[in-house]
């Protein structure tokens, strides 16, 4: 198995770089999911977000996701990059790319990866509003 292409970073995510990582001559399709920071949650205006991770475990869980995706779907490669720290509206929090000989597998793998990431990867998002802040999903 090739090295994992997953990364946590405080820098702006680079779409081209991530797509180039998964590209290869056998692949006919690449699906990419980009999670961006929205300007509002339930009509409340968001000023910015702050992401924090348990980095060693987060990376280990991200690697599990790409390994599972390779077992479940006929993909060539998968890369998952997640940004940490302060993010402004419109910036990318996560980019996931999956390359495959046939497009179905690329779509399914990418979808699986973002759905699983949101459930299992220890990363936390704080939404900062004009009048307060909240750790997302924490309370019922």
């Amino acid at each position: 198995m090739e090295a994992d292409m997953n990364e946590l970073t405080n820098e702006k995510l680079q779409l081209d770089k991530i797509v180039d990582q998964v590209r290869n001559d056998q692949c006919g399709g690449i699906d990419v999911f980009i999670g961006t920071v929205r300007n509002a949650t339930e009509e409340r205006e968001v000023r910015y977000l702050d992401f924090e991770a348990y980095e060693s475990m987060a990376l280990s869980e991200m690697n599990k996701i790409s390994e599972q995706a390779k077992e479940k779907f006929e993909i060539n490669n998968m890369a998952i990059h997640h940004r940490l720290g302060r993010l402004e509206i419109g910036e990318e929090a996560v980019i996931i790319a999956a390359s495959a000989p046939h497009r179905d597998a690329a779509f399914l793998a990418c979808r699986f990866a973002i759905d699983t990431l949101k459930k299992t990867v220890p990363i936390w998002k704080k939404e900062v509003f004009v009048d307060g802040e909240v750790w997302v999903s924490v309370h019922p």
Binding site: E52, Y54, M57, S60, H82, K118, T120, W124, S137, V138
Partner: protein
């Protein structure tokens, strides 16, 4: 045994620090969670609260050893 617990997100705010050191008299991850919820009542209000041992999610019956890296995992919200 003396253990040290890594804290993140809302649990860091509830406890007031990014690590917590304590004398733990139990054996398992489940017992540790109960201990922490008794000590910090606000943890009870969270949607979920998991324990990680050495970078893996622990079951309630996972045994904790003194040298393990232990973390408290409140509801995650990445992506």
């Amino acid at each position: 045994m003396d253990i040290r617990i890594l804290l993140f997100g809302v649990t860091k705010e509830i406890v007031g620090d990014n690590t917590l050191e304590l004398k733990f008299t139990g054996n398992t991850a489940g017992e540790l969670r109960s201990h922490l919820v008794r000590q910090f009542q606000k943890l009870k209000g969270l949607n979920s609260l998991l324990i990680a041992v050495n970078n893996e999610y622990a079951e309630d019956d996972t045994i904790i050893n003194e040298k393990d890296e232990i973390a408290l995992i409140p509801p995650v919200s990445g992506g």
